[in-house]
Amino acid sequence: METKLPPASTPGSPSSPGLSPVPPPDKVDGFSRRSLRRARPRRSHSSSQFRYQSNQQELTPLPLLKDVPASELHELLSRKLAQCGVMFDFLDCVADLKGKEVKRAALNELVECVGSTRGVLIEPVYPDIIRMISVNIFRTLPPSENPEFDPEEDEPNLEPSWPHLQLVYEFFLRFLESPDFQPSVAKRYVDQKFVLMLLELFDSEDPREREYLKTILHRVYGKFLGLRAYIRKQCSHIFLRFIYELEHFNGVAELLEILGSIINGFALPLKTEHKQFLVRVLIPLHSVKSLSVFHAQLAYCVVQFLEKDATLTEHVIRGLLKYWPKTCTQKEVMFLGEMEEILDVIEPSQFVKIQEPLFKQVARCVSSPHFQVAERALYFWNNEYILSLIEDNCHTVLPAVFGTLYQVSKEHWNQTIVSLIYNVLKTFMEMNGKLFDELTASYKLEKQQEQQKAQERQELWQGLEELRLRRLQGTQGAKEVPLQRLTPQVATGGGQS
């Protein structure tokens, strides 16, 4: 078996699923902006779920499961399952209250029964169970009430039929976790199509639903070996669509949390498919606007990969540098945090490969006018392991950052940053005084050289521009008109340095 899951922990409430712990995402600035935005007026709720029921039948309470002799148990169970397949309109909260109550009671009983009674799950009930679950949970999610739904700031749109839906999910979970559960029987019904629909539900805006789905998918992955590759592939499709097409999918954090534990169980050496997933899916996920919602889970996955196979480090760090945020300082702080997590586990042999581009980026962050970015970058020097790596590679790292640090130490508006930079420069001085002196001496010279280079560049482009004009004149000399039209455009274009 190529992959194994960590032992599933005790089944329990969905709030503590048996997944590896992932720290909650940090708020960068520590206060919520929710209060700043006025709550939008709510539109009427909608759900596509109800419309498929045409002629509603009336439900009548059936006898309790525990009251019938064992011989009639399965026949009654099947009738109860059928009752639970009847759908109700929850948008109209007073419609058919009696029917809703009958179904709720039946679901409750089913949850109870499948969790505690042995010998209930025999082969013939599997199709009924899966049918009941499918009818209830699989639906086209309604359009979002708020097209610019921001999971960080807006209240989610809660599923109106939750009173029933929750019980169905609970039942599904207990069914999967029952000691009597036989994956070999269930796999006839829990197939690829089933899993695909399950994955689509992760887009639900209701966090309670996603929490259940997370635990359930984790169990499905654990129990149905034949579906594992398919689940991983469909997850990548969801992520790729999220990255490149929609930028909208509510369940990214939950899926990543499951993947974190899946990656944890990957056997070594890693298959190409898994490495590709890291490089082509997880790393590009960093480019998404709403990164803050799932960054903790994503960083966990990345670090898991690196702990499995250190040779991926260079790929990962270069990837992060490629997607480094250009305008979003909040994301920049997250990137710096993830980079420190990576550096915490980096092998010195890998560090050497990426030190130069990495520290050039760190230096750029130090020179950020946003002091939280600069501060976060400078904190790298408080990390003893990173400091030891810097010290061992002083000859490369110091020249990469010196110019920027030196300049920013004189220019940054924030005094805390300035004093932090002084500390860093002091550390460098103590580390290698000779190199430090050399760099200080050559700093001015380099600045002059830069200016000269800029001058030369300008001349080069001017020359090219003139050449271009001559060429144009050469070819179109006979035609006066287009030339006159061209000239002003050229003049504006040529002014660029």
Binding site: S48, P143, R241, L464, L467, R468, R471
Partner: protein, 601 residues
């Protein structure tokens, strides 16, 4: 820039290579490799200049290989490169060498970032047209095939956009291959690729032979329209429009309609939304007979769909649908089969649905004529004018003119005037704004007397609205009214009221006086301006609020040209000079500006 340097320059450049040695490729490549992204980007954006300096030969043999090899740059740089290369044919030596541009573009068409890929495909499509048929088969088609069988979804996605440009000019055998490749992309394992293929299906169908459309495109369409992912199915609806245009009515009925009917009742609201959204296009594509038999019932269902999103999309199409019905029997169909559903929508629970309807419902009056409008539509308009949602009211007001043409202003004003007067004081300023903008039209048609009686006080009240945009629009409105009703009317009804506001304790109202004078002076002419307005303006130069004072300066600058020289020299000049010494910098600035513009220095 590239466009400027593009066609026509290539041949000449090839001839006159005199001073290439001045710019060794290494220097230029250094520029393209500069460590600073911004500088790299600048260099790439002037790639045509570099190519021109190198000449066509070295561009082909040195620059392009370099670009192909160093494709791993920032996406922003790659995007600029992809764009440049689309216009590069002239710079590599014309159509005979266009294929030299394919390798770098092929790499760009496989990168992860969507905008870069899309741009590369766009450039490839452009360049494909410059290939000779032989070059197309020798170079371009193989590229498409390579992309179509690439191992990552990005290249296969890009390939989807290239089939339709190379198909028409390919030979018979190659055509079959191209179709084969397209077929396999339509059933690709990756939904991203199926989506790309589905979105190009219509375009591809258009360049195919009719037989192939029937035997190959239709099955692909049917499959995509029943894909497991709704994101693919909805794209098939779009393709349906193009495919339907190509087929005869009988073929349509047999080959396409079953799938379209199914799409209109899809379990995913996104697909039904797409059907609603593309309804007019579908209607035109399938022709009148199928429209009556199939589309009208489908449309009725969409108008009462359970998702508001779908109802709103369908409501948006009501007018176009009705307009495009065949003239014969149109009125009956609308009255019997559409109007009942529209009546329901007027009291829909969702404001977006009502607002979508309100934006088009007025258009029905021209289609249904005066009698039906008064009897059936007017009650709906009135109901929507009183809707609780401001957007609905706004949409109705903004389209009043369509009804106006049909039933005449008298009729309109009698039924709608009470509602309009009410909306003039609406809590939402955008609604008030819409009403104001409608006022000159209304005034022109109602005549002076009626206007003075019913609407004049409204127009004056807007001048002291608490929203600046409304005050501004009200000022503009006054000017329009004066243009309609003439100077005398202005002098008697408008000007006195405006001038009284100059003494208002609120400086914003005092400024409104100035803004009105700016707007009215020209329409009122020299006499009124000099005798009535100027004294007030001059008096306001002593206002204690600096904003009023500098607006005095601005007003004087504005009305100066209308005044005669005496008034300018004797009255305006001293005041402006005094303002020119004001303690406030802005007042000084505008006073001095006025002095120099009016040449009073």
């Amino acid at each position: 820039m590239a466009g400027v340097a593009g066609p026509g320059t290539g041949q000449g450049a090839a001839g006159g290579d005199g001073d290439d040695s001045l710019y060794p490729i290494a220097v230029l490549i250094d520029e393209l490799r500069n460590e600073d992204v911004q500088l790299r980007l600048n260099s790439i954006k002037k790639l045509s200049t570099i190519a021109l300096a190198l000449g066509v030969e070295r561009t082909r043999t040195e620059l392009l290989p370099f670009l192909t090899d160093t494709i791993y740059d920032e996406d922003e740089v790659l995007l600029a490169l992809a764009e440049q290369l689309g216009n590069f044919t002239g710079l590599v030596g014309g159509p005979d060498f266009a294929h030299c541009l394919l390798p770098p573009l092929e790499s760009l068409a496989t990168v992860e970032e969507t905008v870069v890929r899309d741009k590369a495909v766009e450039s490839l499509r452009q360049i494909s047209q410059e290939h000779t048929p032989v070059a197309l088969e020798a170079h371009f088609v193989p590229l498409v095939k390579r992309l179509a069988s690439g191992d990552w979804f990005t290249s296969r996605t890009s390939a989807c956009g290239l089939f339709s440009v190379c198909y028409p000019r390919a030979s018979h055998a190659v055509k079959a291959e191209i179709r084969q490749h397209f077929r396999s992309l339509c059933s690709d394992d990756t939904p991203m690729v199926r989506r790309a293929a589905a979105s190009k299906l219509g375009e591809f169908a258009k360049v195919l032979e009719l037989d192939s459309v029937k035997s190959e495109i239709v099955p692909l369409f049917t499959n995509l329209a029943s894909d497991e992912q709704d994101s693919v199915r909805l794209l098939a609806v779009e393709a349906c429009v193009s495919i339907a245009q190509l087929l005869s009515e009988d073929d349509l009925e047999a080959l396409v309609m079953p799938t379209l009917r199914q799409a209109a009742e899809d379990k995913s609201w996104r697909v039904r939304y797409m059907v609603a959204d593309k309804f007019s296009e579908l209607q035109k594509a399938v022709g009148p007979k199928i429209t009556l038999n199939d589309l009208i019932p489908a449309f009725q269902n969409l108008l009462k769909d359970c998702e508001a999103e779908v109802r709103a999309a369908a409501a948006h199409k009501v007018k176009e649908l009705c307009e495009n019905l065949p003239m014969e029997g149109r009125e009956t169909i609308i009255m019997n089969q559409i109007l009942p559903y529209i009546k329901e929508l007027v009291s829909d629970t969702n404001q977006h649905v009502k607002s979508a309807l309100a934006s088009v419902i007025m258009g029905l009056s021209t289609i249904l004529g005066k009698g039906n409008t008064i009897e059936h539509l007017l009650p709906l308009f009135l109901a929507q004018l009183k809707d609780e949602c401001p957007e609905v009211r706004l949409n109705i007001i903004s389209n009043l003119d369509c009804v106006n043409e049909v039933i005449g202003i008298r009729q309109l004003s009698q039924s709608l005037l009470p509602a309009i007067v009410e909306l003039a004081e609406d809590a939402k300023w955008r609604v008030r704004l819409a009403i104001i903008e409608y006022m000159p039209l209304l005034a022109g048609q109602l005549g002076v007397e009626f206007f003075d009686e019913k609407l004049n006080s409204l127009c004056m009240a807007w001048l002291v609205d608490h929203v600046h945009a409304i005050r501004e629009a009200a000022t503009h409105n006054l000017m329009k009214l004066v243009q309609k009703f003439g100077k005398e009317w202005a002098q008697n009804t408008i000007v006195p009221k405006v001038l009284v506001m100059a003494n208002d304790p609120n400086y914003l109202h005092r400024m409104t006086t100035l803004f009105c004078i700016n707007a009215l002076s020209e329409a009122c002419g020299q006499e009124i301006t000099t005798k009535q307005m100027l004294p007030v303006v001059l008096k306001m130069a002593r206002d204690q609020v600096a904003n009023v004072r500098f607006n005095v300066a601005k007003s004087l600058q504005k009305i100066g040209p209308i005044l005669d020289t005496d008034a300018l020299q004797e009255e305006v000049k001293p005041v402006l000079q005094k303002l020119g010494q004001d303690e406030d910098v802005d007042v000084k600035y505008f006073a001095q500006e006025a002095i120099s513009v009016l040449a009073l220095a």
